[in-house]
Symmetry: D2
Subunit: 380 residues, 4 copies
């Protein structure tokens, strides 16, 4: 007669336990944003939920999803004060991080301990990451909570500031001002899920706060992003000196970020500019233009987003189309033509352009230039 | 000063609580298998897990996934005896069903209460569905467990019989024989996850057991199936008299099923034959063949799987290619030609063929025929 | 010693001539726009080019592409007066149709003889279809050409009227007025390639001209549309009494058309309205609303385009979201809620909505309603 | 009154001539096969047809398609003796190359002048490329034709040798032997279209002939390959010293090729081995294994084909799975484990494997090894 086997023994016996998902291929799709000179680009999603608050997945899923999606670092940030599943799931604040970390480490992902401080508006929701003890944040006054997070070394950012405001128009309340003045507020989500917040974008520029973008995902990620939907999740690109939690933390405090939101990047021009330049390459060995002839310039874009360019058609020594798209991971053509029968000689022509989907300011594209080495020949 | 708000009040206040996934479109992709004459085809996944045993998702996710995947009915069947997350999650056996049901009902899905009876091999794992009280199955002797399930009106099937057997070669142990003889075993998984089991297939044919196919999914379903992977999850097609749990249960006991496994269907010829015939249509208004000329016959296949046909090239009054594929949801061409200069008159030609991916017996295709109405004209 | 074999003999010997493309599967993707009551919907592209003018493919390719793309009827309309390949290709105006027709007929496609009358603007380019003799259109004065086409029974439409106009703003010149007054102008392309022309749209409404939409394709079609680009080619939906050239011609003269342009349909409300209604279905067996509760209404859209709906949130007895998308070929959810605690009884609620991508007037959506059968129950 | 405008003037006037395809984006998808040490990998399709023989497209299309498909060099090789469209198209043998070349050059593609010498079997069809004068090949005796091609400096290869043979079993006829002995036969198509020929593969190895693989495309390429079909066209990878026609020709005579056929590469091990090694990278900064623990090794594959690996599970100091797939352009996981409790120290472990889809011999995979730098630690 067979007896009930203790679960732990059973688990040991179940080396070949049939779990269909584990037989499906585990594959990582990288997100080839370039490194910037002297810095490493880390792809981060620092706001996500599990069954330990109101998310719908076990913490390990967040690491597995992140690895597959090409991320480098994540923070699981369950609500401290809002745990609707607590009739069934423990309220131990340390558990999500403790559970996700081994899975993440087996995949080479950085994981950051964090939590979401959850109040009605104002002051709304904050994420605190790089925490040492989440449970210590269970205090009544939100100022005490934020101070505690700060004293633990936490990096604190304001989540989705437009939430519960009329028309999602973000409002800077006295509560934010107070926390900001005390030096406890370090960043704002300019992107939360599928929402880009131009007001928050301007605040980050004006108040020297770090621009953050996160998924705030509750469901399995593929229910909202990925191949099913033809989109990539939002994330924060962090430009760090090393691939470590410390370097990531320092980069966040130093505001070295840009935010990915669908096919847009939001950030300071000083980061968007090299990111753009490092990801494109002119493939023509030489661009030889005779008189007013046309030539097709081939531009490779290795970044995982398209670049939408607008040219001032006669802003340089070359005639240009009004627009061009540099498709992600592809080679595009830009037809340029000579503007003079008599031009001659070889020189670099800086072709001014706007990259309209790189937002250096709220809803305003990055001004930059394509540098083409051209050999001009007079018309015969 | 603001005080900590009780979670229940907070939940009420959070009508617009930002959950990115819920802003992404919720879309159902139907699986247009046809109904059979007098019966309704129900697409069922009757073996899946949640955080209440060793699955990685909250129960509601299983309903949401199933609705999106085009299913009609599901059973969440968490292990009774194997609950590795019990340090964090309650072991109340009633909870998965109680949690998944309201979400499923809001989407019009049928949900069946069930559980997985979990022993080492033999006797291995059984699923019992249509249970009234899962907790009552917590007994030592597996015979007592199965009897209790049976006495609750349960439909009981043997899961993945090849598991833990050398080379996944299924073995019919004394334990199965005993339960089978007592009338407590009603079906076997001929498909579990990505594995098709021809031995189990033959057993079902020989012993008059119901053929079952299920995902046994633990991870979020899109980690293993769906657009990310280019596959559809396995499932059991049940041919029921109505869209109700009772009719579903009766159809299972009556063995009215076929099993989908990637691009294959496994079942009895009496179900595969009408399923095939109901899903194809010849589009040519008339097939007019003059002498030995060729004509392109257009065949629409509305089923969500391709049909792979093999013809005996001269098995009828028509010349045929060796093979043809009727692509899922598309119109295919089959070139047929006359074999005689003198044929004349209009008649239905039955073109014998094998549909090699409809398995009427282990790894053997369905023998059927295409019925073409042809008007023969003598060569001039 | 082997001698040079005449090409015709060689062709006969080459039954198995290796042509890779013919071994790849030939598959038709249907475009499931519904038929309208009493009418058959024909999907037509009536403007396309081959190597016999400035197109880049052999005429048979246009039939093969059209069949694969789910079309019912095509007209190859090579330029009469512009044949840049004439150093290499014959200028016999009858050839494109004579070559494309047998291929089209083997696939069950209707083919219409036509040509493009090619002048600078004004009067620009006209297509004349249902011609008997294209060569007869080689005359100097464009009025003579158009009259000849008309006298052959031709249906004549003005192509891409915005071409060569500043900012593609179409201008109605005296030349058009003259031809229009003589009754020789029957339609206008409101869509040519990827360009929708709202001015031409308004002209069609005002002057009772037939709305046309065509690809005007020169390259192989997959270079511009189809799976490579994620788009479908533009086309004219013609609502005919039968699937014959005569019925197609009569429908064109009767202005029974709607034009597909990416995810939009342009046409008269009297055609767009039934097209929309015939392609959607409410799947809930009953919509039961208790008090102010919410219910998810499932809407299947069988058409090959999404429908973008805008609701007036409280325009009926039901609360509604601001917007909903009914995805092509999918089932979508619309959350409706009761607005009263005391409503009771079963009745059909007409929910007013705008379908913003069905253009009943220039850039203006179709006003219609979803009809929901609701059973109201008072709140308990 | 307006007069008929000469076509040449009209062409000049038609700067904005509406050609839909040219408004769709022209995008190149690169095929990131790596360069080999000291050599440049050129992706070549050296067998294709146009309307100048029995192809269905204008010659320029072949250049446009090739650029979009990521190729570096093409040869249009119309049949000399089989021109079924000659009632409508000129038989001037120089035209296809003269027409395709300017378009190809504007896109940076190399184009090679060639033709297909077309006889029944034997001797069947030969391609001759790097010709100076195609018309000079119009001679009766096939030996004269081949000699003439050879004397022009031509590289001559036998096309699809299995064509017209029973079951596509290639036969080496006296005609081939004669030409081979005279030194006029330099290569064989081991891949033509979708057909791989293992007999031809063995001949190339035995007789020191160059392995060729080409599309032999007649239809627009997207009708047979590409995103519509989920495949890439077959091609010859040529390992040249420079990106010039001369270097390409020399590499062909030196037999520096490998052939792509769907997800397989056929070639000599000396080329397949570095191609494989140059396209994979182990991403773990260090592989640290403690006792018999497991570690996930991350392998990036930058090549555009998957690699299918088979391991001998205990063939090294590491335990391995039976199989692994390194997906194209992705990062895959291979779980390796220690086999000893006492292993220690850091060393490179060569893990033997077969890459089953790299054919170093007919239908036989490449034997190679993954080199992993492992730091072993004794179990505690």
């Amino acid at each position: 007669m067979r007896h009930l086997i203790p679960a732990t023994l059973l688990a040991l016996a179940l080396g070949g336990f049939p779990q269909t998902a584990s037989t499906a291929q585990r594959v990582r799709s990288e997100l080839p944003f370039p490194d910037l000179p002297g810095l490493i680009t880390l792809r981060c999603d620092l706001h996500m939920h599990t069954v330990f608050s109101d998310g719908k997945v076990w913490p390990t899923v967040r690491a597995e999803e992140a690895w597959r999606d090409g991320l480098d670092a994540i923070a699981v940030t369950d609500h401290i004060e809002y745990q609707p599943f607590k009739a069934d799931v423990t309220t131990n604040d340390a558990r999500p991080y403790d559970l996700v970390r081994p899975h993440a480490e087996s995949l080479g992902l950085l994981t950051i301990r964090g939590a979401e401080i959850t109040r009605g508006e104002p002051p709304g929701h904050w994420n605190a990451i790089f925490l040492k003890n989440v449970a210590a944040l269970r205090q009544n006054d939100h100022r005490d909570v934020v101070r505690t997070a700060f004293e633990q070394g936490g990096f604190i950012f304001w989540n989705h500031p437009g939430w519960q405001q009329p028309n999602w128009q973000s409002v800077w309340y006295a509560e934010q001002q107070e926390v900001f003045e005390r030096g406890w507020l370090h960043g704002i989500e300019v992107v939360n899920g599928s929402t880009y917040d131009p007001i928050a974008h301007q605040w980050c520029l004006d108040k020297k706060l770090t621009m953050m973008g996160n998924s705030d995902i509750h469901d399995p990620i593929d229910m909202a992003y990925g191949p099913v939907h033809g989109t990539v999740r939002p994330m924060t690109l962090v430009f760090a000196t090393a691939r470590t939690p410390d370097a990531l933390r320092q980069a966040l405090f130093d505001r070295r970020t840009a935010v990915l939101s669908e096919n847009r990047l939001i950030g300071e021009a000083k980061y968007l500019e090299p990111l753009f330049q490092q990801s494109i390459a002119i493939l023509n060995p030489v661009i030889r233009i005779k008189g007013r002839n046309s030539v097709l310039v081939q531009v490779r874009n290795t970044a995982p987003i398209d670049y939408e360019l607008v040219f001032a058609p006669k802003s340089s020594d070359l005639g240009l189309p009004g627009r061009a798209t540099l498709a992600a991971g592809k080679v595009a053509l830009i037809q340029v033509r000579g503007l003079s029968d008599r031009a001659s000689g070889r020189r670099v022509v800086a072709v001014p352009c706007q990259v309209t989907n790189l937002f250096a300011a709220p809803n305003a594209g990055l001004s930059t230039a394509l540098r083409l080495e051209v050999e001009f020949q007079p018309a015969s």
